[in-house]
């Protein structure tokens, strides 16, 4: 989550950031992070979570 927050400023608007996390909390917490920070949660595939930067 912290690394996602740090990676976000380097991404361009519209770009997708892929997070690799094996923590079971990530499945709920990454979508919740997107909601709180106004970003778009795209999809999860196993331990990979895609987040699109929209703001």
């Amino acid at each position: 989550m912290i690394r996602l927050a740090k990676a976000m400023p380097q991404a361009e608007i519209g770009e997708i950031v892929r997070v690799l996390a094996d923590d079971p909390a990530a499945a709920g917490d990454i979508p919740a992070w997107c909601r709180m920070k106004g970003q778009e949660f795209v999809a999860a595939d196993g331990h990979a979570y895609d987040v699109r930067k929209i703001t």
Binding site: M1, I2, A5, K6, D23, P24, A25, A27, G28, D29, P31, A32, W33, M36
Partner: protein, 381 residues
């Protein structure tokens, strides 16, 4: 470490939803009953008859408060034991109807563990932690449902559940409803329409080790345990009678204070909800802001390890609970927070009780923002 003689929780114990501090009436009744109610109530001599009197009086008090008949109520060694007996015995009594248990996604883990013995169908909740009633109606009306289970109010986020409406759907489908009322009894009005109900004395200020199970007349319940010589439905073996007497006495005292306590604590919960949102950046206040328990509030902080925050608060004298992973006995985050789709890390549950003062809450609110900021700084945020 030097022994200081400070009793546990002397600073600001804010975890009443786990165990409320012993009510003074419970302490008095417990001490009296230890001298007076140690004998076996099944025996015919004087000491046994005295114990039986105490047991019957305690049963009558709790039954009256819950609005049920004394012969519908039994005492168990814990709220967990009572809840699991409700599930297992409720399923056993309805074997012919099927083996499906419909339950909300936010039941207590004791119920979820018992649910694994059945074909469990889980019904979700919304972002505020309120049961999806449409999905509930569909689930209980499907064939083969033996029992339904709905927690009266969430022990983790405080959201009060639409029990009466859920009970209506169960009644239409002919399915008995079990309500885990551990957080409600002694604090909020008991809902109607259920068939089985459980509660736990140490959640209302009674001693630990007393659970209550109510099975309404006409509800089929089969004990999941081997019987004892008394052949009565209920927990086999000796009753912790002094604790039961203390539980009943404290419940009567707590219920008489409940309205005033709710009126005092609920604004303190509102204050925590508002102030934490205003003073801690990147925080999510969880649960229904209005339709909630009067004494409980939960929030989650981004970029904060729940365990670290728990320890930091403990060092400042605050005892709170957390639904984050690694903060209790599990490595997983709370299934309640997961089901709601809210942030689970950096989670804190604060639950107040009759000894909680406004000054305790103010001190907590003053300390929290710097502790969160300190943990984030260490993590490089």
């Amino acid at each position: 470490m030097d022994y200081t003689g400070d009793p546990a929780g002397a600073h600001a114990y804010l975890d009443a939803a786990t165990a409320a501090p012993l009510h003074p009436v419970a302490r008095e009744a417990l001490l009296a009953a230890l001298s007076d109610g140690w004998a076996d109530p099944a025996k015919l001599y004087a000491a046994g008859r005295r114990a039986q009197q105490l047991r019957d009086a305690a049963t009558a008090v709790v039954a009256e408060i819950l609005g049920v008949r004394p012969d519908e109520l039994t005492f168990w060694p814990s709220g967990t034991a009572a809840a699991q007996a409700a599930i297992l015995g409720g399923l056993g009594g309805r074997k012919r109807a099927g083996r499906t248990l419909v339950h909300s996604a936010i039941e207590h883990s004791a119920v979820l563990h018992a649910a694994r013995t059945a074909d469990a169908v889980e019904v979700g909740v919304d972002r505020l932690g309120r049961l999806d009633l449409d999905a509930w109606a569909d689930a209980v009306q499907a064939g083969g449902v033996a029992l339904a289970s709905l927690i009266g109010a969430s022990h983790e986020v405080g959201t009060v559940q639409p029990v009466s409406a859920a009970a209506g759907f169960c009644a239409d489908a002919g399915v008995p409803l079990f309500v885990d009322a551990a957080q409600i009894v002694g604090r909020a009005p008991i809902p109607s329409g259920w068939s089985l109900l459980s509660a736990s004395a140490h959640k209302w200020g009674g001693p630990p080790g007393v659970g209550v199970l109510v099975v309404r007349k006409g509800v089929r319940w089969l004990s999941p345990y081997p019987s004892d010589d008394l052949h009565r439905p209920g927990n086999p073996g000796a009753l912790a009678l002094p604790e039961v007497v203390a539980a009943a006495a404290s419940l009567r005292a707590v219920v008489s204070e409940a309205q005033a306590e709710a009126a005092r604590l609920s604004p303190l919960v509102d204050r925590i909800r508002e102030r934490v949102a205003a003073t801690v950046p990147d925080v999510e206040i969880v649960g229904d802001p209005v339709d909630r328990l009067p004494h409980l509030v939960t929030f989650s902080c981004l970029y904060v390890d729940g365990e670290a925050l728990l320890h930091a608060l403990d060092r400042h004298g605050f005892a709170v609970s957390s639904g984050s992973s690694c903060t209790s006995s599990t490595l997983r985050p709370s299934h309640v927070l997961e089901a709601m789709g809210v942030l689970s890390h950096g989670n804190v549950r604060v639950s107040l009780h009759r000894d909680t003062s406004e000054a305790d809450v103010e001190r907590f609110l003053a300390v929290l923002p710097e502790l969160v900021a300190g943990i984030r700084k260490e993590a490089g945020i």
